[in-house]
Symmetry: C2
Subunit: 403 residues, 2 copies
């Protein structure tokens, strides 16, 4: 797929550039700079992994100090598990960009993805930066989407436009992620921008809300990354009346657009999950609360037996049932549980549904997108997550690739 095949809308106030610094491989883009016009506000959510990477620690710190002017992203090296030197390296890469741009290092937010435990080659990043900075371009979103990839097989880029009192606003975002995907805050890496004017606190609320319904509701392999980060920049170039009321119509329009971009990017991450051949939507209904609904959904999503059955297109409802049973829900009444594969009722009253036929189940499982719906019969709360199957290629990719 050439870049021209990736439709997108540029965001006024944002310019991007990518370049090849030779961080892990030679001759492929692995360095991205996003330049944000003065006045831009940034919101961000980060991994909850206690072993968070050095750039995550530094980006959090810089964000608290000033509004950023640049996002500096590298693939090929996660700068995670690198101790004190990792922080120094992350800072040095920010400083290198700041020196060239004539700003303070705190105005640069660093992001890294790739192999854990190797030191960041700061000198190579610094050497590549001058040429990258000279090529900043509002239309470079597709190239940036490619440059942040690691085991991803496809770039992930999405735009949505929405109306703000007669002005057309834009939300555009890129993301990367394929393995070590069970975000506990945001996905591996995602960068979104809008040209709308948005109050900083409202922007953060918007991003957190959208991430919860997208990046925080997907899982490829249950492994939460050390480097998860998601940024939403609002440049304000649109000149609309500032979105300040989280209960107003403008906010609702913004949230809908941001959430649409996040959900699409998160879905693309799962669809491109390492070795994935199926996109699986797991919906748990009639739970007492959201925690228990998500607990059941994630137990199904993380079951290797369910995932290999999905890979085999085998309507093995016994494995789904066993996963529900071990999810740790207190006082689960198995006689009230119903499980659907697509529209086919497969389990009721503790066993196979009387109406179920293997043919009907097999027909659903043959598809490339599969819905599993579990009704717990205990309450009225629902939750939904996206996951994928577990194939030979997952093993191959992770036995061969050093993440």
């Amino acid at each position: 797929m050439s870049d021209s095949d990736l439709p997108f809308e540029p965001v006024a106030g944002v310019r991007l550039a990518a370049g090849a610094a030779g961080i892990r491989y030679q001759g492929r883009d692995d360095l991205v700079v996003l330049a944000l016009d003065p006045g831009t506000t940034c919101a961000a959510v980060f991994t909850r992994n206690a072993f968070c990477a050095a750039p995550v620690t530094l980006a959090r710190r810089h964000l608290q100090a000033v509004q950023p002017s640049y996002l500096l992203i590298n693939s090929g090296n996660a700068n995670a598990g690198t101790g004190k030197r990792g922080l120094e390296d992350a800072h040095a890469s920010c400083q290198a960009l700041a020196d060239l741009a004539g700003c303070g290092a705190e105005s640069v937010l660093p992001f890294s993805t790739g192999v854990i435990g190797e030191h960041l080659p700061v000198d190579r990043i610094a050497s590549a930066l001058p040429a990258v900075l000279q090529s900043l371009d509002a239309d470079a979103w597709p190239r940036a989407a490619r440059a942040i990839m690691t085991t991803d097989t496809r770039p992930k880029l999405r735009s949505v436009r929405f109306d703000l009192n007669g002005r057309t606003a834009t939300v555009t975002g890129i993301a990367k992620g394929s393995g070590m995907i069970c975000p506990n805050m945001a996905t591996m890496l995602a960068f979104l921008a809008t040209d709308a004017v948005v109050d900083p606190e409202v922007l953060q609320t918007c991003l957190r809300s959208a991430a919860d319904r997208s990046f925080n509701a997907v899982s490829v392999d249950g492994d939460t990354s050390t480097n998860d980060a998601c940024v939403l920049a609002a440049t304000g170039a649109l000149g609309n009346a500032p979105i300040e009321d989280p209960h107003g119509a403008d906010y609702a329009a913004l949230l809908a657009a941001v959430e649409a971009v996040c959900v699409d990017l998160a879905t693309e991450i799962v669809r491109d999950g390492e070795g994935a051949t199926k996109l699986v939507r797991i919906r748990v209904e009639e739970a007492l609360d959201r925690d228990e609904a998500r607990q059941v959904a994630y137990t199904i999503a993380h079951s290797p037996l369910v995932k290999t059955a999905l890979f085999a297109s085998d309507p093995n409802w016994g494995r789904i049932l066993a996963a529900v049973g071990r999810a740790g829900v207190a006082d689960l009444d198995i006689d009230r549980i119903r499980i659907h594969l697509g529209d086919v009722l497969i389990v009721e009253e503790g066993g196979r549904a009387a109406s179920y036929t293997e043919e009907a189940g097999a027909a659903v499982m043959a598809g490339s997108e599969i819905d599993i719906r579990v009704s717990l019969g205990r309450g009225s709360v629902d939750a939904q997550i996206l996951t994928c199957d577990f194939s030979y290629d997952y093993v191959r990719i992770n036995a061969e690739y050093r993440s």
Copy 2:
């Protein structure tokens, strides 16, 4: 391996027999009867999966009523997810044996393992039972160990002898299990017997304690089975002074023997884990409490990224570190954590240990048995679990086999 290659000691008061009922496959043993002499006391632990199988429900019920005279075990069909009819089928199979033996159905404990969600072919079991009952033999442990296998590649049988005031007592056990292994009470199926005289409550304490340190400390794939069950029968044929004091020397000797058999059987289950090429011992030290130590150990053990790195013999300590970081331990101070691969210190102070070399790590990973030791630096509690790696064959077995 022929049965003569499986060393064991018979247990006075226990006779066994196996036969082929054609439950799932033709011409292989899939039915086992253990006959327990009068006066035998049984202890048992069962799965905590809420969707427990019909035989588990019935075995629990029968155990509360009377001391069992027979254990009736079938492979090829788990009789799980079979609703009300599953219970009726389990009862009918007990009744068939009881009718032949001239006892009540409650004196028979049923156990099933195999495919979930298919109805038990009670008629075929009933037809096979007369011949099986006629071949009861104190030396049939190896044949029974084979007959209860499903995806297991090897029978699991172990004996330990111990001294009770000058009398030599015996503990012998068999187990099966290879996939859907993350016991939350006992493994898939394990049956142990001793000829010692043991008080029923003390026997239950002994089994629970031994299971906690063996079957409840292993994981192949994190999937807790619907059918886990472990029974320890004490026939009393040895005629020793009853073991009644859980603080006495006799109890200590019994517990040591039962635990040794359980640990060996549990280890064999992991070693024979579906597709497993490595046996991995994960020890978490210096935790605040046992729960948090086990939480960290299981998070590492269940990480598909760690498991595929183990398969690749890749000393990918970054994935271990990421798993520790996402294990959900509150206020984890990453600077205090040390991780060893075998005797090689790989992580300290939030990053790769200064003394670490890739060669030293690779040398440990090249072995078929690997020790991972994580010191949390928070307290003084340890926990250890056993697991295995994740290979192409795990996917193949579970994409092809209907469990």
